[in-house]
């Protein structure tokens, strides 16, 4: 009886080790992030990108609705008047000062929904870590830049 049990036990061990061996030959699951780009869905919300019209004018008109709806109060908008010499947007006013505090922002996307001109889009940039809080308050010149591509955008 004990010999039968020993054979059965040995068979069980072989069976279990076969499972281990199977995974030895599969492709590793790990995404080698800093060397490789990661795969993101298009609905991922990262750093904001302020949009421009095709003729180069800014879409933002400085209405401040994004700042009003922001649950974390991370956005600060100060509108300024366009003149014929210095024209930034197509309408009367433009965002003279547009700042997003990324230490506060929770990337909920309410600002994108509130924007009446479609000037604000949440992009796919996620690598935003900085060494000081001051660097994380990003102004218009940073937000107008498109995101540095760290990711491959998948089909939705």
């Amino acid at each position: 009886m004990s010999i039968v049990n020993a054979v059965k036990g040995f068979y069980q061990i072989l069976k279990a080790m076969a499972v281990t061996l199977k995974y030895f030959f599969t492709k590793p699951l790990t995404v080698q992030y800093p060397k490789e780009k990661i795969r993101l869905y298009p609905r991922f919300r990262g750093r904001h990108e302020l949009q421009r019209r095709p003729d180069g004018l800014e879409l933002c008109v400085g209405c401040g609705l994004c700042a009003a709806i922001c649950p974390a109060r991370a956005i600060y908008v100060e509108a300024a008047e366009n003149t014929d010499e210095a024209r930034y947007s197509a309408t009367e006013r433009y965002a003279g000062l547009y700042e997003i505090n990324y230490t506060r922002c929770i990337f909920c996307g309410f600002c994108e929904e509130a924007c009446p001109t479609g000037a604000l889009k949440l992009g796919n940039e996620f690598a935003l870590a900085r060494a000081s809080r001051g660097d994380l308050v990003m102004g218009k010149e940073t937000l107008l830049q498109p995101a540095t591509p760290h990711a491959i955008i998948l089909e939705d």
Binding site: L29, T30, V31, P34, P71, T103, F126, L128, A129, A131
Partner: protein
């Protein structure tokens, strides 16, 4: 601390300094310590898909006597603040802090009496990660930034 405070700069200890920094850079052990939802992403960073072991930081230590890095993952309530401070004080030098997520960086969306408005009010922070919660890759980006910071450190900073 000792010898490095008495010797002039750039004589004996520069090579040793860079060697020690190289070792420290690839063995940043974090403290096993999470406060809220960001801790879930911190745990995910240890899983096989993301694998924090590639940065030498997979050894999450459950005692403050062994780790080098404190990842403050989550909101710090006023009740938790003394505990965070005590854990930080128990950690041996050299030690670094990553404020992970909006709440740890500045209080995030919680503008109220119960949440500490940024963990840097009680402990010095080296890297801030925005996001609510940040992706594990965002944590890795912060970790690479911290590794860059460690390479530039001098013995004199700890003396």
């Amino acid at each position: 601390m000792g010898l490095e405070t008495k010797l002039p700069d750039g004589v004996v200890l520069t090579t040793l300094e860079s060697a020690v920094n190289w070792c420290r850079k690839y063995s940043v052990w974090p403290l096993l310590f999470g406060l809220a939802c960001c801790a879930i992403e911190m745990m995910t960073a240890g899983m096989s898909r993301f694998d924090i072991a590639r940065f030498g930081a997979e050894v999450f230590r459950a005692t403050p006597r062994q780790p080098d890095l404190m990842i403050v993952a989550g909101r710090v309530s006023n009740k938790m603040a003394p505990v965070v401070k005590r854990l930080y004080d128990h950690m041996p030098e050299p030690k670094w802090v990553i404020a992970m997520g909006a709440c740890a960086s500045s209080g995030g969306m919680f503008h109220n009496y119960a949440i500490l408005q940024g963990v840097d009010k009680i402990i010095p922070v080296d890297v801030y990660i925005p996001g609510c919660p940040p992706r594990p890759e965002a944590l890795f980006y912060a970790l690479t930034q911290l590794q860059q910071k460690i390479t530039t450190q001098k013995f004199k900073d700890f003396a």
